[in-house]
Amino acid sequence: MTGIDLQRSFIDLFSGLGIDPEVARVMWMPLPMLAVVTIATVGALAATWLERKISAAAQQRIGPEYAGPFGLAIPAADVVKLLIKQTVVPANADPLLFVLGPVIVFISVFLSFLVIPFGENLVISNVATGIFLVIAISSIAPIGLLMSGYSSNNKYSLLGGLRAAAQSISYEIPLALAALAVAMMSNGLSTVEIVEQQADLGILSWNVWRQPIGFIIFIIAALAECERIPFDLPEAEEELVAGYQTEYSGVNFMLFYGASYANLFLSALLVAILYLGGWELPFPIDKVAELLSIPETNPIWQVVAAFLGATVILLKAFAFIFLAILLRWTVPRVRIDQLLDLGWKFLLPIGLANLLLTAALKLAFPGAFGG
């Protein structure tokens, strides 16, 4: 195992202070979870700020300016505003399901960050089912959407919830097929393995060159899973007021809002991990270390490498978020029949063909396609 290992260092430090290693392990456990939840929250907040700034630029406005430098305090102001608003539960709504719906959506998004690596050892849990687990957990979210749509006792909410569930079921299949082609090349489902398989030649060995079709399928399906324009049918303002969120206010609405941006951040990180080499720099950093004759075990070098890796994966993720926001403010919405046609009649066959092609290439060129 190369690279930084914070857990071992932490346990060594505390056993040095005379604490039982077992106890030190227990003390370590909540720390990475807290760190990742913080990263996910900050990432989502940053995405809302970017949304405002980029939409303003796309419409030749300035956007938020006075709240902090460049309006950077606007997300915090949003959160405070939503926290102090009254949480209304409409009359004749089902109060239990009404509150439970947004909670399920929120939890299912944040749970998926469990297997997102920010570095070789900067991951809560490197489970072998990695990417499959993310797809499985994110399939729980439609239940929360159906729940809130049903319990609101509102036509628009119910239609929005049904649309959201139909959409996320339809687009989960092409998403999973695209991810499956990548898993086939890296001989495993673990997110760390998938990144390490792209590490040899820097930018040249990233999966985006070997899986161009899969990359496009994954981007389209990820946008549809995040319910963003051009696929924001479940909350189409002109048709359904705000879809399943129509009756929500205050903290419950904040959970939906936060979950949607955290989901965007999650999808961006997944794109970076599956296709853009994860935390790997555009040039192989190990070769640089060899060239400068720095040993791999040098602690300062390890910290620098881990820091560079985490920065690079965030940069890649925010590049995808930039693309998603730009698409939102430039592209019109598709109709519901076009949306389902695109998913079932175009992306699904293309995804299957891509899988077949990948398998054939893997057999023909085992060196280049992870034989």
């Binding site: 009359a91 089912t129 399939s139 439609p142 036509k155 495993g188």
Partner: protein, 194 residues
């Protein structure tokens, strides 16, 4: 390892209680929507059980297929045909309930008997086994290839059947239907007259 054993025991107890309570809720809840949501909770609890048994891939597949697909489809069906009907009293209701209780108790007794009379291979200590994906794949494509392929044929049959049912020309026209969505009547808030 003391810690992992304790965690396993507590998780097992919590999961068991959750699954049993949710399953009872599915059966006993008068509201069909609540029953469907509780069914999702049962599936999640079973996935947790698989995790405790070191079958992480099976657990993820359980969540993806049963919670993410089957349960969502059940909910879909319930919400699209959500008609409020007054159910008629069933004839001989008490006798039916007695028969149901007898069947359930005898099934439970059978399971309990099997459970108590089987020698279980119990490993005393908790060990982190490697993931089962590779083993599972090898079994699927060696000794269990035929059942695996037959299951896919079964799915194909179901798929074709669904398409046939969904095609409009095979469905007889039933005239005008009320397609309005059901919404509970909203009570108007009394406006104070000025």
């Amino acid at each position: 390892m003391k810690l992992s054993q304790g965690v396993e025991l507590v998780s097992l107890l919590v999961l068991t209680a959750m699954v049993v309570a949710a399953a009872m809720g599915v059966v006993l809840s008068p509201s069909i929507v609540y029953a469907a949501f509780l069914l999702g909770l049962v599936f999640l609890g079973i996935a947790g059980m698989y995790l405790l048994l070191n079958a992480d891939f099976v657990a993820a597949a359980q969540v993806l297929i049963y919670v993410g697909a089957v349960n969502v489809l059940i909910l879909f069906a319930i919400m699209l045909v959500n008609r409020r009907k007054v159910y008629r009293e069933v004839k001989l209701g008490a006798v039916r309930q007695l028969v149901a209780i007898a069947v359930c108790v005898s099934l439970f007794a059978l399971l309990l008997y099997t459970n108590l009379n089987t020698v279980w291979l119990l490993t005393p200590e908790v060990t982190a086994l490697p993931s089962g994906i590779v083993t599972l794949g090898q079994h699927f494509f060696n000794e269990y290839l035929l059942p695996f392929e037959l299951a896919s044929v079964l799915l194909l049959v179901a798929l074709i059947g669904a398409i046939i049912l969904a095609r409009r020309e095979f469905v007889p026209d039933r005239g005008e239907e009320n397609l309005e969505l059901v919404e509970r009547p909203k009570e108007l808030v009394a406006v104070k007259e000025e």
